[in-house]
């Protein structure tokens, strides 16, 4: 096996997780937990693919995916921000809604044939760097490069700009923000929308770049859940999110590729001869997600790892100002 090739493919597959994770990170930083990432990604993947088939323009596919998933996220926003319902329940419902809509609208898409995909290219000088150049900058999809830019930009936006300051305040102490004239409700709607668009982009990245096509709910295969786990692992920081997303992308590829060869390091490959071991490996990312989610739901631990203090709580504007 050529490990640089596995890692190269891992970066591409990690880009999917990266977009979804960063999007959820924005929503959570504003105080809204959206468990509907998986559903929104399916919407994105399906609408990107079908738009591209219909128009032949993958860029239009990306755009439609982001808008469609963003709009779907606003159902969740309305339920939890305006109606102040439970964020977990509403998020789960959104997952099923997104999956349902995309399965119905995507009926027949799997036999649709080939489409023109988003371009792949290499970055001239950077490809020459040993190993790194091969893994990160050679023959990657344009969306992978977008991902590289997104990470520092997100960090800068959150930590060094005025809207980022307001975003953090709304997620940490909404009544303090409200008292200073920041519209908490509008901010939360907006960042849930951003989260939806990014999940849509993640879906489009799958169906138009990483593993092109529409394979109904197998298209995303639970990556939306991994993204939610990664937000907690990342402690709501974009750079840590990137590390987690790329590591998991690489792991996904490795788990796939390791089952191929007959001989591994000079031994008979146990993963080839025993398919149950392969299933076990495939389970690992989801096991990680479960563990991280359990940790993230413990109140005391959440405080320690720096969760936004108002995460999960509806903001009710009381006269007491508290």
């Amino acid at each position: 096996m050529d490990y640089t090739i596995i890692l190269q493919a891992g970066i591409a597959s990690g880009t999917v997780l990266l977009f979804a994770t960063i999007g959820e990170l924005f929503a959570e930083r504003s105080g809204v937990l959206n468990l509907g990432v998986e559903g929104m990604m399916l919407i994105g993947a399906m609408s990107a693919f079908s738009t591209t088939i219909a128009t032949g323009n993958p860029w239009l596919g990306v755009l439609v995916a982001m808008i469609f998933a963003g709009l779907i996220s606003q159902i969740h926003a309305f339920i939890v921000i305006t109606l102040q319902a439970d964020q977990v329940v509403s998020g789960l419902a959104l997952t099923f809604l997104g999956a349902g809509i995309s399965l119905v609208l995507g009926e027949g898409l799997s036999k649709a044939g080939t489409v023109s995909l988003l371009p792949n290219f290499s970055i001239p000088l950077l490809t020459l760097i040993p190993i790194i150049g091969k893994i990160f900058f050679t023959n990657q999809s344009v969306l992978v490069y977008v991902g590289y830019l997104l990470v520092p930009l997100s960090w800068y936006y959150i930590n060094r700009t005025r809207p980022g300051l307001h975003l953090r305040a709304v997620g940490e102490y909404p009544s303090a923000a409200d008292a200073l004239g920041i519209n908490v409700f509008r901010m939360r709607y907006f960042y849930v929308f951003v989260g939806g668009m990014m999940a849509g982009l993640a879906g489009a990245t799958i169906s138009l770049a990483v593993s092109p096509g529409w394979f109904s709910e197998l298209t995303t295969g639970g990556q939306g859940w991994i993204a939610i786990g990664l937000v907690i692992f990342a402690q709501w920081d974009p750079f840590r999110a990137a590390i987690g997303a790329y590591a998991f992308g690489a792991l996904r590829r490795l788990i796939l590729d390791i089952q191929g060869p007959l001989v591994l390091f000079g031994f008979a490959n146990p993963f080839y001869y025993n398919p149950y071991l392969g299933f076990f490996l495939q389970m690992l990312p989801y096991l990680f997600t479960v563990v991280v989610l359990v940790i993230g739901s413990r109140e005391a631990l959440r405080k320690r790892i720096g969760a936004p203090a108002a995460l999960g709580n509806p903001y009710v504007r009381g006269e007491r100002g508290l």
């Binding site: 005025r162 300051l165 004239g181």
Partner: protein
């Protein structure tokens, strides 16, 4: 100076009026919080707004600060009528308020908190520029605080300075301070007063809300008094009115300041805390080696500015928090790092800080709340089932004995006033005849009558031979109830002082307690007792 005989002299206003409130009415469900209140603020004055807890002071000022809308009445600012629909409008008109509960984002820096909600900077924040600007502003008003520090790293006193800076940065002319001294150590109060005077010197006006007489008569030029939503005095020069008169205006009757505290007869040690270390919810060290003891028949106080580990200490003792090191013994049994039931079975009573969520179950009835500790034992438990008749009887007995004012014992406790709720909690805790009781801020937010009631119950526990640990931020309360007081600072005990109970005469007692307050105050800001004593000796040499 004290002028007992004259009626309220109302000298003609010398300075122009900045704020005029006329006939303000504000109602909450079941309470008339402000009943046609008039209020006037002169340019360049410190105006004390005095009244008991619940008198309507915060409500009146929240109306002025744009947080609440009045139901009737008008507000004029510099002669112009104003209708504020948000605090932002009020700030635009030059009026800013520092609330009792600070509104600061803990994870952000001082500068970030001050810039929050402003239009400048538009997009990119160059924090270093703003840091210098804010440091300069702080210097001008004697408000020392590091602009780059995160809020959670600051003491409560420093956080208050940030709140004041937030308003000054927005250029307000009128600053409303709601009970600003409640969270400060005596020395910090001095610093605050210096700042307020500096603001007056630079042409600003201040409204100073307090329920403490002596503070108001020290700092305020004029005083207004509220009682149950009605203004009983409006803009009286503080020089021309005695404290007794103010007290009567506040409470509506003569106030007896003295409590009937019998000489103490301390017995054996009941509670022994040894070298306890514990972490806060955030995982930061909150207690760093606390040792103290409480004997039967004495009340021992824990003094300190809020947030120095008092909550964590009481939680470790009551069994609600684990300690990483050290132990707590109750009558020789180790109760730390065990469950709360173990402590209860060994005679622990706990009156927690949070009456509504920890101390009681708000939606349950008075009966359910008072049987929460003894429901396992007969007569309430009968063959493993609850005997509701016995429970109701028990609750009715407590209702009588503890003067709980409630239509029936099946009323949910969330409908009770603070004083009544506290009596429900005390009734439950005391009726179990505890060997030891820890009470945290048991009188916070109660009115004078209710405070007296709680104090009497605590003293009765002492008489009955129980050991009581009283955590309080009110120094006066500690001085009048306790036999000994420990002072806590950043999770360490700074020292322990004895409070004598046989006072020779009033004058001597006053100077004695003044010396005590000074010593305790120094410890509250981090000077250990042995160091204070060393310096004291050095000064005498």
């Amino acid at each position: 100076m004290i002028n007992q005989t004259s009626s309220m002299p109302s000298s003609p206003p010398q300075a122009p009026l900045v704020v005029e409130m006329r006939g303000i009415v504000k109602r909450f469900p079941g309470v008339l919080a402000n009943d046609h209140v008039d209020f006037e603020l002169l340019h360049g004055e410190i105006h004390g707004l005095l009244g008991e807890n619940g008198a309507g002071k915060s409500t009146l000022m929240n109306v002025l600060a744009g947080l609440y809308r009045q139901e009737a009445g008008t507000i004029l600012v510099k002669g112009e009528p104003k209708a504020f629909s948000s605090p932002r409008d009020a700030i635009k008109a030059g009026i800013g308020m520092v609330h009792q509960h600070f509104m600061l984002v803990p994870s952000q820096t001082v500068t970030e908190n001050i810039l929050l909600g402003l239009d400048d900077p538009r997009f990119i924040m160059r924090l270093p520029d703003y840091n210098t600007k804010i440091a300069e502003l702080g210097e001008r008003f004697g408000l020392k605080v590091d602009p780059r520090a995160k809020i959670w790293q600051l003491s409560v006193g420093e956080q208050q300075r940030v709140e004041i800076l937030k308003m000054l940065y927005r250029g307000v002319d009128v600053l409303i301070m709601d009970e600003p001294t409640a969270v400060l150590a005596p020395q910090e109060i001095e610093g605050l007063f210096v700042t307020l005077r500096a603001m007056i010197a630079q042409g600003k006006s201040v409204i100073f809300i307090s329920h403490k007489l002596q503070e108001v008569s020290v700092i305020a030029d004029r005083v207004s008094v509220l009682r149950r939503g009605i203004a009983t005095a409006s803009g009286v020069p503080s020089k021309g009115v005695s404290r007794q008169e103010l007290a009567r205006l506040m409470v509506g009757r003569d106030v007896i300041f003295a409590l009937d505290k019998k000489p103490g007869r301390p017995q054996d040690v009941v509670l022994e805390v040894t070298d306890v270390h514990a972490e806060s919810d955030k995982g930061l060290p909150a207690l760093r080696g606390i040792s103290l003891n409480v004997r039967a028949g004495e009340i021992v106080g824990v003094a300190g500015v809020a947030g120095n580990g008092q909550s964590e200490l009481s939680q470790v003792i009551s069994g609600m928090r684990r300690c990483a090191q050290g132990q707590v013994l109750l009558n020789g049994d180790k109760i730390s790092n065990r469950n709360t039931l173990f402590g209860i079975q060994h005679g622990m009573a706990y009156v927690p800080e949070d009456r509504t969520h920890v101390g009681s179950a708000p939606n349950l009835s008075v009966t359910d709340n008072v049987i929460m500790k003894n429901f396992r034992k007969p007569p309430i438990s009968k063959n493993g089932l609850l005997d509701m008749k016995a429970a109701t009887k028990h609750a009715n007995e407590l209702k009588l004995a503890y003067d709980i004012i409630v239509p029936t014992v099946s009323t949910p406790v969330r409908l009770l006033s603070g004083g009544n709720l506290q009596r429900v909690i005390l009734a439950r805790e005391i009726s179990g005849l505890p060997a030891f009781m820890v009470a945290v801020q048991p009188t916070r937010g109660l009115d004078v009558g209710a405070i007296e009631g709680v104090h009497r119950l605590l003293l009765a526990q002492r008489e009955a031979g129980a050991a009581v640990l009283l955590v309080s931020e009110e120094l006066e309360e500690l001085l009048s109830l306790c036999d000994r007081v420990y002072v806590i600072y950043e999770g360490k005990i700074m020292g322990e002082v004895m409070i004598g109970d046989d006072e020779p005469d009033e004058g001597a007692a006053l100077s004695l307690s003044k010396g005590l307050v000074d010593t305790i105050g120094q410890m509250m800001t981090g000077t250990p007792l042995d160091q204070i004593q060393k310096e004291g000796v050095a000064a005498h040499d």
